[in-house]
Each structure stands twice: as C-alpha cells, then as structure tokens.
C-alpha cells in the first residue's frame, strides 16, 4: 500500500487534496469503485459568512470494503457523507456513486436512487418512535412501495439475524441503545442497498454493545457487491475497517489500508 498525498490547485483556486492509491485510478470509475469523489468542495453561507467545510476532496470507496472516515469533530466527515448520500450538493466537484454521477440526477430520480441503493445507520439511531422494531426496520421497503406485510416479513428476517427478533414488537423507547442500533442496522440493510453509510454507529453505545454492533454490521453488511462507509471517532473499532481515511480541516490527509 503506497498512499500518496499531493496538493494542487483546481480552477477555482481551491487547494485540492488528491489521495492516490496504488490500486485506484481517479480518472475512471473502475468496476471495483463504488463511490468516487473528485475535487469535492463544500461551502456553507455566502459572502463574509461563507465557511469552506470541504477543501477539495478526492476519495474512492470500493466494493467489498468497509471504509472508515475518521478525524476530529468539524473536519467535514458528516458533510462528506451527506454529499455522497445525495443529501447535500457539493459546491464544486463531482460525486459518482455506484456508477451514477449524482449531479446528473435531481429531484425524484435522486430520491429514488437513494431509496434503492443506499442504507443509513445514524449515531442517534433515528428510529421512528411510533413504529415498533419490525416496522422501523421495514421502512425502506415500505418507502419503495413493498406491501406492508411483505416488508414486515423481510424486516423480521433481518431482526432474527441480528438476534433481536424477540423484541420485534417493541417500540424504540422499550429497547436498549444496542438493541435500537441493531434495529437501525436492519433498517439500513433490509432493502439490500449497495452502499451503506454509517455515521458514528457506536458513539451512543457502551464498548461491549459497540463491539457487538460492529461485528453484526461487518458480518451482515460486508459483501463483494456492497460498499460500507463508516464515520467514527471510536478508535476501538478501527480493527473492523478495510481502509481508513484520515480527515482534518476539510481534507483527506491519508488513507491507510488495515492489515488483513
């Protein structure tokens, strides 16, 4: 693994961080690349209040790998995954996700793309308190128009794999943090997305629960045709990563491949 970080200036004058790896070309999206970010710049605000959160990021995320984005608070991790998820637009640069340039699709098509291809695990779980565990896990299928009963059956299968089928009729406020995160994982995977984005999945959990959640995530989410991006502060779970992208001040400083 020979990661090289070099800096150049893009046409907007942005100092751009290019992270080149020995296996990935930035000029074309190879079959093994699930997400390709090129020169991503993100500004918030305008005029004197403008804040540049991402400073020209190039990043590849590959199928079959768990890519960790790590770095201090405010370094732009969440903004980057929001852009990759199509929830935010990049100010400059392009994002290619699963062979689709996100800037080329808008509105309903982008929402459909997200619905079919992306799964999310959030730090705060973000389960709907009015739905029980099975219903929460079934939401992505219901959003896609799958019949309620079929969606619940599929969700129950996942909850069983995650070891919480006994709690499938419980509401989020009746579940522990670890159980809620398992429901969230089921929700992220139930519709078989090709890209799973996890934001601090262990931040709200104790060490034991966090480890258990990561093991389940690794087991269930890892697949040759699926990519997983995990944003985390938690160095205890770095061992679950295939590659770790270190970020600081809106830039990817380096990418390390973790040993097998």
């Amino acid at each position: 693994m020979a990661d090289v970080t070099d800096f150049d200036l893009d046409p907007t004058g942005v100092a751009r961080t290019s992270v080149l790896t020995d296996t990935t070309s930035l000029n074309s999206v190879s079959n093994s690349v699930a997400v390709q970010c090129k020169g991503i710049v993100k500004d918030f605000g305008a005029g004197q209040t403008k804040v540049r959160v991402l400073q020209g990021i190039d990043l590849d995320v590959r199928f079959g790998e768990r890519t960790f984005l790590v770095g201090p608070s405010g370094c732009g991790k969440t903004t980057l995954i929001s852009i990759i998820a199509g929830l935010l637009d990049a100010t400059v640069g392009s994002v290619n996700v699963l062979g689709t340039n996100l800037s080329s699709i808008r509105g309903g098509r982008l929402v459909d793309f997200r619905s079919k291809n992306l799964g999310f695990v959030f730090q705060q779980f973000n389960l709907l308190p009015s739905l029980n565990a099975a219903e929460n896990a079934a939401v992505p299928l219901i959003v896609q128009g799958v019949a309620y009963r079929r969606a619940i059956v599929a969700a129950n299968d996942f909850l069983e794999q995650l070891g919480i089928s006994a709690h499938r009729k419980k509401y989020p406020n009746q579940l522990s943090g670890g159980q809620q995160q398992r429901v969230a994982i089921a929700r992220a995977l139930v519709h078989q997305p090709r890209l799973v984005i996890c934001d601090e999945p262990t931040a709200s959990l104790d060490a034991q629960s966090g480890h258990a959640v990561m093991e389940m995530l690794s087991t269930l989410a890892s697949s040759p045709d699926r990519a997983v991006i995990i944003v985390t502060h938690d160095s205890r779970i770095y061992s679950f990563a295939d590659r770790i992208a270190y970020m600081a001040d809106g830039q990817v400083l380096r990418i390390e491949k973790t040993p097998e």
């Binding site: 939401v139 219901i142 959003v143």
Partner: protein
C-alpha cells in the same frame, strides 16, 4: 406510508386529542350558534309559517314586523274583499296577553284570534281536541310547547283553566305550532273571543289574511290591494323575509352570534394550527429520516394531508355529533323548541373545519418540505 403517517399521528395521543378537540370545539360552536341563530330568525316568521292557507298579508303601511302591530279599521276587511283577485279575506288578531299560571306566576303569552267562521289563522295540526271545540264559550287552544311551559311536567290534557288578561279561559285543544320569537306560549281562539280578552273596543284588526284567486298571481293582487286601499299588502314570503330582516337590522342578535361564531373559528384555527405545527415540528426529524431514506416530497405531502384529514374528519364528526346531541336534548325544553341543526349549516361547518385543518397543514407542510434531510447526521 399512509399507515406510518397514521401511526405517527396516533402515537402522541395527547396532541392528537388536542387537535381533534380543537376542530370539534370549532365545529360545535359554529353549528350550535348558527342553529340557534337561524332558529331565532325562523321564529320571527313563525306565525306566517303556521298559516299556510293565506298567501297574502294585509296590514297598516307602518307595520314592519309581526310584533309591532297597528290596528286596522274593521271596515278595511270589506274593502279588501272587494279587490279583484281576492278569493277570500279574513280578520286576524294578534296581541300580547298576560296569563297567570297554575302556580300563580305571571307569564307573557301571544294571543291569536282567528276568523270565527273558518278558523283560518289557527295552525291546522291538533294534538288534542278539534277546531269545533273552539266554538265553545271561553274556549282557547294552546300551543304544545306553551302547554309544557305553563303546566310544567304535566302530560298534555284538556279542560285546564287559565287566567288570560284576568279573564277565565279553558283549554279545549292543544295545537302543534311553531315557537314564536317573543314568547314560547301562544293561545289561539276565535277573533270575537280574542277581542273580549283585550277590552279595547273596536278596531282591533291586526292583519287581514288573504288568499288570492288561482288565476291571478299573488303579486298582482298585492299591488291591487295597495292601490285600491292604501294598505300595505305583502305576499307571505315577502312578509316573512321582512320580519326576519327586521330582527337582523334591529337587534344585536346577529352581532352576538356572529362574534361567537367568529371566535369559534379563530380559536379553532389558532389552536389547531399551533398544535398541528407543534406535532409536525416534533416529528420533523422523523420526516427528515424518511426523506433521507428515500421518501419523495409528494409522499410526505400526502402523509401530512392524511394526518390533517383524519384530525379534521374525527374532530368534525365529534363536533357535529355534540351539536346534534345539543339540539336533540335541548330541543325537548319549551325554551329551545324549534331550534334544529340545518344540514346546510352542517355542510358549511364541514367546509370551515376543512379550511381550518387545511390552513394548519399548509403552515406545517412548509416545514416538512424545506427540511434538509442531511440533519439526520447531526447529533
């Protein structure tokens, strides 16, 4: 998704209940107040409604309504009968009488005197007794609601005596009549008998009831009567409208009821809008999650409208039910007799309820549509 929308709505039962009560309260106020208001207005023309035989009313030109009567000369009856197109014309007496009830209390009552021969001027539906009974000395008929008010708690029966303007009257019939604007108690008797209860001498003719010939339109006969006698003649419909308009123009009733109705709508709008906004605000993060997961804005709009529609439908149903119950139970009291819930008011209040909830959901919807799904990544 609609199942999810409903689960979201019912989950916070306190807020759901608050929303439903807000709509129900507005609906109840609108229906109850409008029902009473229209009931009062209808009472203003109740006497006219009770005499379907006469299609023209003749009176002194200064008369504006049924309550302020200026007597006509007895000779006017003959003049009106002589107008071409008049099929028949009969005298009609109307006055206020003081009665002493069985318990010794004084009450104000309406005294109606109908044509001695034809008895036209007395409502046709007899609950007890018959028109012929009214030909007996001191005989009077009393309206059904009036009987309940004078002889509180007693079953309708005949033969009761009452002091009418300090003179003895015997109830020989009970009539189904419409509640009047000024008094719930109405006594009916023959014209000559009514005059004997007033002791005011001649020229006590309050109105002339006229039926126009079938071959001549009532409007033409009205013009002829006015031209030939100088008296004011109005078709029954016009006189009714005039009596109702008098109440609207000269009493504080419309303002009073209008204010309550407006307050009901305003309170409904503010309470429902505020609570629905609060409901959406508290669920904003969940809407953002649904957005992030891949729910289209159109689907979210549908969810919010469904939630609003359910609140509106249930609230409207409860409010309408409460209003209907009010009229059902209150209507059993003589004081509320004749008040009812017209279907047009129920429909109108449904439209108002839909507007209230529609407005509330539009305000809340804006928040849902502009919510940035990326907030789901914030802690």
């Amino acid at each position: 998704m609609f199942r999810i929308a409903l689960k979201m709505l019912f989950y916070d039962s306190a807020k759901y209940l608050g929303l439903v009560i807000g709509v129900a309260f507005s609906t109840l106020l609108i229906n109850q107040q409008m029902g009473i208001f229209l009931g009062l207005l209808s009472r203003a023309g109740a006497i006219i409604d009770d005499i379907p035989e006469a299609n023209i009313w003749v009176m002194d030109p200064g008369v504006k309504n049924l309550e302020t009567v200026f007597p006509l000369r007895d000779t006017e009856l003959g003049r009106v009968r002589g107008v071409p197109g008049v099929l028949w014309a009969v005298p009609y007496f109307k006055s206020v009488a003081i009665i002493r009830t069985a318990t010794g209390e004084l009450e104000s009552a309406t005294l109606i005197g109908a044509d001695d021969t034809s008895l036209i001027g007395i409502p046709p539906e007899f609950v007890l007794g018959s028109p012929e009974d009214l030909r007996r000395p001191d005989a009077v008929a009393v309206g059904r609601d009036g009987f309940d008010k004078v002889w509180l708690g007693e079953k309708p029966s005949l033969g009761k005596t009452v002091e009418l303007n300090d003179r003895r009257a015997v109830v020989v019939a009970i009539i189904k009549d419409s509640p009047k604007f000024t008094s719930a108690i109405t006594f009916y008797t023959r014209y000559s008998q009514a005059l004997s209860y007033t002791n005011n001498g001649r020229n006590q003719l309050s109105f002339l009831l006229v039926k126009s010939s079938p071959e001549v339109s009532p409007e033409v006969v009205v013009d002829r009567i006015h031209t030939q006698t100088g008296l004011l003649a109005l078709t029954a419909a016009d006189f009714r409208a005039r009596a109702v308009q008098y109440v609207i123009d000269n009493t504080g009733i419309p303002i009073s009821f209008g204010t309550v109705i407006a307050l009901g709508v305003m309170v409904g709008v503010s309470v429902v809008a505020l609570m629905f906004n609060l409901f959406v605000l508290e669920n904003l993060r969940h809407f953002a999650v649904l957005k992030a997961i891949g729910t289209k804005n159109s689907r979210l709009v549908g969810m919010v409208f469904l939630q609003a529609a359910v609140v509106g439908f249930v609230g409207y149903g409860l409010g309408l039910g409460a209003a209907a119950s009010f009229f059902e139970f209150a209507g059993r009291s003589p004081n509320f007799a004749g008040f009812y819930l017209p279907w047009r008011i129920a429909v109108a209040s449904g439209i108002v309820a839909a507007m209230i909830i529609g407005l509330a959901s539009l305000v809340a919807l804006r928040r849902v549509l502009v919510i940035e799904p990326a907030i789901v990544f914030r802690g």
